[in-house]
């Protein structure tokens, strides 16, 4: 394809090559705003929810692509958090049992802990 003028085009390898964030940034945030017959105001609250959802959705997308480093991070992954909680629970149960064993003599002597 020939371009108008001497335009370097080495940086666009077809639209599949463009970073999705670059495209969304332009088509959602830039470009002239004209009130159409169908009134959806991208400038309003919708755009915010779209943006928030994009961030969340991109996490799912990344996971599909095998980028899953957060899976083992308790702050980010409920799966990892469950594992962490289960381990903590087991540990706490052991400690409670140990404490109860040391408390036994107290109970038997009738001294109620205040």
């Amino acid at each position: 394809m020939t371009t108008a003028g001497r335009l370097p085009d080495a940086y666009r390898g077809g639209d599949g090559g463009a970073n999705l964030a670059d495209i969304l940034e332009r088509v959602l945030d830039k470009g002239i705003v004209i009130a159409g017959d169908i009134r959806i105001n991208l400038l309003d609250i919708e755009l915010l929810t779209i943006k928030l959802r994009l961030v969340v959705a991109s996490v799912d997308k990344a996971k599909e692509m095998g980028i899953d480093w957060w899976e083992d991070d308790p702050a980010l992954s409920s799966g990892a958090r469950r594992k962490e909680l289960a381990r903590e629970n087991a540990e706490l149960r052991e400690r409670i049992q140990a404490l109860e064993e040391t408390q036994e003599p107290l109970k038997e002597s009738g001294g109620a802990p205040s």
Binding site: I32, I34, I50
Partner: protein
């Protein structure tokens, strides 16, 4: 009975070159030209079932739909950019029928003429600067030395502080580099805009996005501009400079007095 609406991609000055025969836009429909006086709108038919207010609102929250539509929108605008300097409209600007598009063009012709005049013969280049994390501080040899046992808490805090200082230093260097680069590029552009940094979760690009800017550059000056950006790529260690484009002038469709003065518009 009409079940089709009109999706408008861009407005242009009339141009002679034909659009690519195989070019398809939103919903796989080919765009066509709709002339009104000395302006041409690039429009495509879209199903009312998807683009009436309710369904459109729902679709916009569906990432796959949004991605496909955004790419299709940009595909048409990019194709136009090879033959003219289009004024891109925001995603999902939709009208009932051709006459709705025409009356919009009649109403908005002042703004269109102004913006098309500014974009004529120019393209937009995007430049992003990333800092690839702070350099690791040198290993704290003292930690394992004599007296480390009693002083380990303090040594730990010291090493943490050293790391934080190194990070702050790297960040400051990155910002200084980005500021210098932006100033230099803006002087060689017809106009410049600084956008908010991109969210790494969305762009999936490693490193901290320090600068995210756009430059409106004459087509004839674009080769020099690209070379200018290329030359800075190895200038600063730990810094990555990324160039995108040529885009249609998306970032330059509004009068510049909306943003903070000085920063927004570069000299002639």
């Amino acid at each position: 009975m009409s079940t089709e609406l009109r999706y408008v991609y861009a407005v242009c000055r009339p141009f002679d070159a034909p659009l690519q025969a195989e070019l398809v836009g939103v919903e796989g429909r080919p765009p066509r030209l709709l002339r009104h006086e000395d302006l041409t709108a690039v429009v495509g038919a879209v199903p009312e079932a998807d683009f009436a207010e309710g369904p459109l609102r729902a679709h916009l929250e569906d990432l796959d739909w949004l991605t496909a539509t955004a790419r299709a929108h940009e595909r048409v605008v990019a194709a136009l950019t090879t033959v003219t300097s289009p004024l891109p409209l925001r995603l999902a600007t939709v009208f009932r029928d051709d006459s709705g598009v025409r009356s919009m063009m009649q109403e908005e012709q002042g703004r269109f003429r102004w913006a098309l005049g500014r974009l004529a013969g120019r393209v937009e280049w995007g430049v992003k600067v990333y800092a690839d994390g702070a350099p690791e501080p040198r290993p704290e040899t003292r930690l394992s030395g004599p007296g480390a046992g009693t002083g380990s808490g303090r040594a730990y805090l010291q090493s943490r502080r050293a790391r934080r200082d190194a990070q702050d230093g790297a960040r400051q260097r990155a910002e200084a580099f980005a500021e210098r680069l932006h100033g230099d590029l803006a002087r060689h552009a017809a106009a410049a805009r600084v956008h908010p940094p991109q969210n790494p979760a969305l762009s999936r690009v490693p490193g901290v996005n320090i600068l995210n800017s756009a430059y409106l550059v004459d087509r004839s000056a674009s080769e020099d501009f690209v070379e200018r950006v290329d030359r800075t790529k190895d200038e600063e260690p730990g810094m990555r400079v990324e160039l995108t484009g040529p885009w249609a002038g998306y970032s330059f469709t509004m009068p510049s007095d909306e943003g903070p003065a000085g920063q927004e518009e570069a000299g002639r």
